[in-house]
Subunit: 446 residues, 2 copies
């Protein structure tokens, strides 16, 4: 075995940081402030711009250095009317919400017969033009798991059903929400983005789980079921977003960066509490705690803009910092709610694995176990990870996350302050030890 990479002194400091974090409400107070004083903050809107103003003021108030906004352009899509109803044989309203990027039905809506499918694969198997004039309904549920692994499977229908609708000649589409809530909330989320010259999809909305069940029960009774949908979202001219950054400049190696991120934007339906106000509170409060230890490396907090609408801020960050990515020693993003961290995952060079794992070992006392070396790092690290930046995931318990995710019910009251504090504790230990360790996590030491 390798030698323990941390001194007794460093481990004692990490423990003290965790103890302090568990006694502190700072992370919780930051998410309270963001969700109350800004609320929903859809990418490219005036509300997201207010969130950046809030973030800059908050980071300055917390003593961060080099606080700035790094702007970038972003597509802008805004929600309009969204109603649906069974028109026959059992007339009644249905609870829906438009998917991000959906086209409009126009104010008069569309009314057509529903054709139901158990999953996206069944729709993809159909020949072109075979659902002319129909409304597609995909009643594919999402599996609830602690690690969120059901999401990747279920989300494919959110991304592509609208375009399948065009191929098949359908007039609109409804999907069972990508989410695990049994309550009457439809979950929104972004469709796959069109590239230049591609044809927009059919108007597409998500049904709440109870409404998907209701539609299925109606269909089981054997008569044709007709639904009317009115969706009037608009795609507006491109707007501006930005990544808000604050730093604790390193005392010994200021050019070397430990990046901790979260995303500042949210969907428009809730107030973006667990997605991702929690992450903003967690990484900011943790970095703030570590500041007092005068860390050797620079701690960079990045509050990404426009994550929800297609990782636009993540891409802008990677482009804007492309020449400096070799200086990004290690990166982590908190974007999986406010549940307790239970596992420390890494994605570092094999030769640095034990060193990286030693960081996680310091968190055993607060309930964090060892994880694999295949960490994802977080959605906003997609591009920097692809460019070779080593990442870690402080994996949260996500059993309930998709009950709230992208619904009106994602509000501050759902966050447990004790769970928030445990997250801050783990991030504080991570940030501090990553800034102190005398190693890189790539294969070659530059």
């Amino acid at each position: 075995a390798l030698a323990q990479p941390f001194s007794e002194n460093q481990l004692t400091t990490a423990q003290r940081l965790m103890d302090q974090a568990l006694e502190s409400d700072l992370g919780y107070e930051i998410v309270e402030s963001l969700t109350t004083e800004v609320g929903p903050r859809l990418a490219g809107t005036e509300a997201e711009s207010r969130a950046r103003d809030w973030a800059i003021a908050m980071l300055k108030a917390q003593g961060f250095e080099n606080v700035r906004n790094e702007p970038f352009p972003v597509p802008l899509w805004v929600r309009g009317v969204e109603t649906a109803a069974i028109t026959s044989p059992y007339p009644q309203p249905l609870a829906i919400t438009a998917l991000g990027g959906s086209s409009s039905t126009g104010p008069d809506g569309v009314e057509a017969e529903i054709v139901a499918f158990k999953d996206l694969a069944s729709v993809e198997a159909l020949p072109d033009g075979s659902l002319k004039g129909k409304i597609i309904f995909i009643d594919e549920p999402m599996t609830r798991t602690q690690d969120g692994s059901g999401y990747g499977v279920a989300v494919r229908k959110r991304r592509t059903t609208a375009y399948e609708g065009v191929r098949l000649g359908a007039v609109a589409a409804l999907i069972r929400s990508v989410g695990t809530s049994t309550h009457r909330f439809a979950h929104t989320g972004q469709m796959q983005r069109l590239t230049e010259g591609e044809r927009e999809g059919v108007p597409t909305a998500a049904l709440s789980a109870p409404d998907a069940d209701q539609l299925t029960r109606s269909l089981k009774r054997g008569q044709p079921v007709r639904v009317k949908m009115v969706l009037t979202p608009e795609t507006l001219p491109p707007s501006e977003s930005g990544n808000v950054i604050g730093e604790i400049v390193g005392s010994e190696k200021p050019e070397e960066i430990i990046l901790v991120g979260a995303h500042l934007d949210s969907w428009d339906l809730g107030t973006g509490a667990v997605d991702d106000g929690a992450g903003v509170g967690i990484v900011t409060a943790a970095a703030r705690l570590v500041a007092a230890e005068n860390p050797k490396r620079t701690i960079r907090v990045v509050l990404f803009g426009a994550e929800e609408v297609g990782l636009v801020g993540a891409k802008a960050y990677a482009e804007q910092h492309w020449d400096d990515l070799d200086n990004h020693m290690l990166a982590a993003e908190s974007d999986f709610g406010a549940g307790r961290i239970w596992r420390f995952e890494t994605r570092v060079h094999e030769s640095k694995l034990e060193t990286a794992q030693a960081i996680g070992n310091a968190m055993r006392g607060i309930g964090v176990g060892p994880g694999p070396n295949t960490a994802y790092g977080g959605p906003d690290l997609t591009y920097v990870r692809a460019a070779g930046v080593p990442v870690v995931t402080l994996k949260q318990d996500g059993l309930d996350y998709f009950d709230l995710h992208h619904t009106p019910n994602d509000t501050f009251d759902k966050i447990d302050p004790a769970d928030m504090a445990q997250n801050v504790a783990a991030y504080a230990a991570f940030i501090y030890l990553a800034s102190e360790v005398d190693a890189h996590f790539r294969g070659d030491e530059e």
Copy 2:
């Protein structure tokens, strides 16, 4: 002690009925049919009329006799647009729903400063005209209890805030929902009805609990908080409702009636599953089971119309059957959701108490304990109870009932079929034994 009023044979039959009920899904299937094939059914609307057609067909299909609709006039109020938003200092939407009977703000809405109160009593204590141009906000929570006793306390603000608003010169009012849900559902419900010549209240809506919390957090930050509300409900010309009745005519004392009721109407937001589709399923399925035993007295199932909008069907029933109320031996209504029955309460003459309690004793094996002799009987029995009809309450566990009550989330998926079957079992035992027992429950045997 009195002699056991039931023979061994009768008790065996009651037990067999309970066993059958526990094996049967009939109650569950009835509420599935109602909530799917009719859905929401607001009093006085075309949807409530469809519910009556459904009920008549269903009762006939289940073999009931004398199936009929007993019509009566009903006021008609329908929901319109209902939106609200904080306009300053923290602009963001709020989730609200108009209270039944609310006046309209007009399509342009009203925008004013919020003045918050912890409860209705604080508002009632204010001098006339002291909230000129303001929006009243009452953030009074409801206490969660198994027996629903928190409701009576909390509901007073739903009934009278709109009229307090007029007295105080306010332009509108918001109340924290009368309900226990922590999710983002606002709970509707009827305001106190005006009598001829009274002035209508200010436009009044309920906020979901997370939104009431959000408004309170906004106010705590110290700046004046302004809210815009748009409510466009309409009071239309009076319409028609009706009580749907089906009977099992008694084999020995056909003129003596055991009444079991539930209400057929629902609020418009959900599909009226726990309120009160469950009750419709429970009493109908139980009476259906008892039919096979050829009961001595007439079992009358009454599916009341227009309960939600002020017990209009209950009053019509009492008036239309006034001359026959002495023949109503015992009555019960199921209108507290689909939770398990845990207590048998009576409201009978002291001299008949042990006999009445013996009915409840037969249900011990399915988890039903003894209750007091102060039973309420159910909302639709208000007038017949006042006229002296003895009532019982088969008390359900209501711990979760007010999470769903009067919200969009009151849907079929919330009902547990095993709990429904336990309810049907208890009602079947009650109906059967009440029809067999050789006693009246009033003081004097006629």
